[in-house]
């Protein structure tokens, strides 16, 4: 165990406060600390060892397979890091004049165009720094648009029951009232349910396509038409973009606004809270409301490209300081540049991998099948899924008492990150798996074999898993009922 706050070396070790640049400004006495902040006192090697030790006790995409459904935990190409560490990217100041930032602004502009093209949208902003942040920003733009055209009465947002929880949360943050609609038996959008709730008060419908069940909504255009004819807007949650890039796009499906997750689809590292990037794209009627600034291109006196910052005239305001997570944008740009026009191959391989893994799990050999207590049920009645799939583990629970959670915990012993658990909620005992395009056939085969082996193991062994991890099964119920939100200090 290594506790950062247990380091207690020489007084002042580990950090040095720079001398004030000027005595002209002092922090008012009332705002100064009464006692010095209690920083850990550690030397550089102690700090390096602390974090290296921590890294050996966690699991990331660099340490093993990470099939966390809906999160698109793909490999983060190291070439992205080389590009973003170049001094022309890394040593810039956000307040530098545009004439000093032309290279970075050229990348931003190209990324705006790439994202516009990928989604069939007219204008993109790179400002939001997370998917849900993008959702909120786009919903605020829709809200301003409705106010602007005299339809401020539109205060309801429709969300299917298979949606990501962030959708209703983002809309509620804008002050919208949420109307949840049930899915059909087969997990797809129910057009009649949409017809039943749209009206003069409909602001928008928020949809993920493919849905969280990993299935494409074939009637999405009809759904868009129903919402549009009632005067509502269509919002596309880009969480599952990895499935469709270069094949179709939200613009073609009838959407008006969309967010992208550069940390999912475009390989920006994520997990552990970020930093993410959630740019949004909108159709032209919403472009004037986007947060500032965007990058616009022109031509200078010598015929060379020139880039400027541009503030949309009816902007909702700032949603993030400076220029979003600029480094995330650069990494995403580097990723795109490696694929270029072949970007659709990424989606092809992601979908192929998901279908292959699903097939391997659902079709064990007779010999393997004979040892399994109970097979899972497909979460969606469909022959082909997109980039992810769900499994209903109820038969195993009924036969042995082993829950989806137990299987997820046992996978940790095999060196895997657990799949997404108990989501979407419309699938009982749900496990949701997304291998992404960057895993090899061999890695997927090995995972499928190990998964099937767990289904054949002694139920007691699985119910008490994990056994081989640094931390054994944690008491989640106790933790949720007894929240400790602050690290206690020695002297408390």
């Amino acid at each position: 165990m290594s506790d950062l706050f247990a380091f207690n070396g020489a007084k002042g070790a580990g950090y040095a406060q720079p001398a004030p640049i000027s005595d002209d400004f002092t922090i008012p006495l009332a705002l100064q600390r009464s006692a010095p902040a209690r920083w850990p006192r550690a030397s550089e090697p102690e700090i390096v060892r602390h974090y290296t030790w921590l890294s050996t006790r966690s699991h990331g995409i660099d340490s093993g397979f990470y099939p966390l459904g809906s999160c698109t935990m793909k490999h983060n190409p190291r070439v992205n890091e080389r590009i973003v560490q170049m001094s022309g990217m890394n040593d810039l100041h956000a307040l530098a004049p545009a004439s000093h930032l032309q290279g970075l602004m050229a990348i931003f502009h190209e990324m705006q165009e790439v994202l516009e093209h990928c989604a069939g949208m007219d204008t993109v902003t790179l400002q939001p720094v997370a998917g849900a942040h993008g959702e909120f920003t786009a919903m605020r733009c829709i809200q301003e648009y409705h106010r602007d055209i005299g339809q401020a009465n539109r205060d309801k947002v429709i969300v299917p029951d298979s949606a990501h929880g962030t959708n209703p949360a983002s809309a509620a943050m804008c002050g919208y009232q949420i109307i949840e609609i049930p899915s059909l038996e087969n997990g797809r959008l129910d057009l009649d349910a949409i017809r039943a709730v749209v009206g003069e008060d409909t602001a928008a419908m928020m949809v993920t396509n493919p849905s969280t069940l990993g299935i494409f909504e074939p009637e999405i255009s009809e759904a868009a038409e129903i919402v549009h004819s009632a005067g509502g807007q269509m919002y596309y949650d880009g969480a599952n973009f990895n499935a469709i890039l270069g094949k179709t796009n939200p613009g073609l499906m009838g959407f008006d606004a969309v967010h992208y997750n550069l940390h999912k689809t475009f390989s920006q590292p994520h997990g552990g809270g970020g930093p993410g990037a959630g740019p949004i794209g909108v159709k032209s009627h919403l472009a004037d409301y986007l947060p500032a600034p965007l990058v616009v291109a022109s031509v200078d006196g010598e015929g060379e490209p020139w880039y400027d910052w541009y503030d949309p005239p009816k902007s909702i305001g700032k949603v993030q300081q400076w220029h979003g997570n600029a480094a995330a944008t650069v990494r995403a740009w580097a990723f795109y540049r490696r694929y270029g026009r072949e970007l659709e191959k990424m989606s092809e391989h992601a979908v192929l991998n998901a279908n292959y893994l699903r097939h391997r799990i659902m079709n064990p050999t007779d010999e393997v099948r004979a040892g399994i207590h109970a097979m899972p049920i497909d979460g969606a009645p469909t022959d082909i899924v997109k980039h992810e799939f769900t499994l209903n583990m109820s038969p195993l629970k009924d036969a042995t008492g082993v829950t989806g959670k137990d299987v997820a915990k046992r996978l940790l012993d095999y060196g895997y990150m657990a799949p997404t658990l108990y989501f979407p909620m419309i699938v009982p005992e749900c496990l949701m798996l997304e291998p992404t395009e960057t895993e090899s056939k061999e890695a997927i085969d090995k995972f499928a074999d190990d998964f099937l082996q767990i289904l054949a193991e002694d139920p007691e062994l699985v119910k008490t898993a994990p056994h081989d991890t640094p931390v054994k099964r944690v008491d989640e119920v106790w933790a949720a009922r007894n929240l400790i939100l602050r690290h206690p200090l020695d002297d408390e």
Binding site: Y422, M425, P428, E476, V477, A480, R481
Partner: protein, 127 residues
């Protein structure tokens, strides 16, 4: 198989209703607590004295697995909320039918007849 007492009425949203002199005593079913798993928190979205509409939400329960809304089975006025559950939400897991969540004075007592009976609820959840 979950416990479904014959003496109670039920909704498709997994609430049970016991009539007590014109007041509907409302909780969630054994099946619901089992599906939610360990309940760690209950939040009231309405206050005592509030008039509530049928199918509106008046509370939500959070388990380690999910957060679920609890719906008003029939329109009326909330006369009592079981605040003890906020300190001991596990009571719902331990005794779903002994852990009432709200008492609602119904606008139309006769409407209770339109709710599911034990057999109807059992059929709904496939038991």
């Amino acid at each position: 198989m979950s416990d479904i007492p014959d003496s109670l009425r039920y909704t498709a949203e997994h609430e049970w209703i016991r009539m007590d002199e014109g007041v509907a005593v409302v909780g969630i079913t054994d099946h619901a607590q089992d599906a939610l798993t360990d309940i760690v928190w209950i939040e009231f979205l309405a206050d005592e004295g509030d008039t509530v509409e049928e199918n509106g939400t008046f509370a939500s329960v959070e388990s380690v697995k999910s957060v679920s809304d609890i719906y008003v089975p029939l329109a009326g006025t909330i006369v009592a909320l079981n605040h003890d559950l906020q300190d001991a939400p596990e009571a719902i897991n331990e005794d779903a039918y002994g852990s009432w969540i709200a008492k609602i004075e119904l606008a139309d007592v006769g409407a209770v007849d339109g709710l599911l009976d034990a057999a109807g609820y059992a059929a709904l959840i496939g038991e």
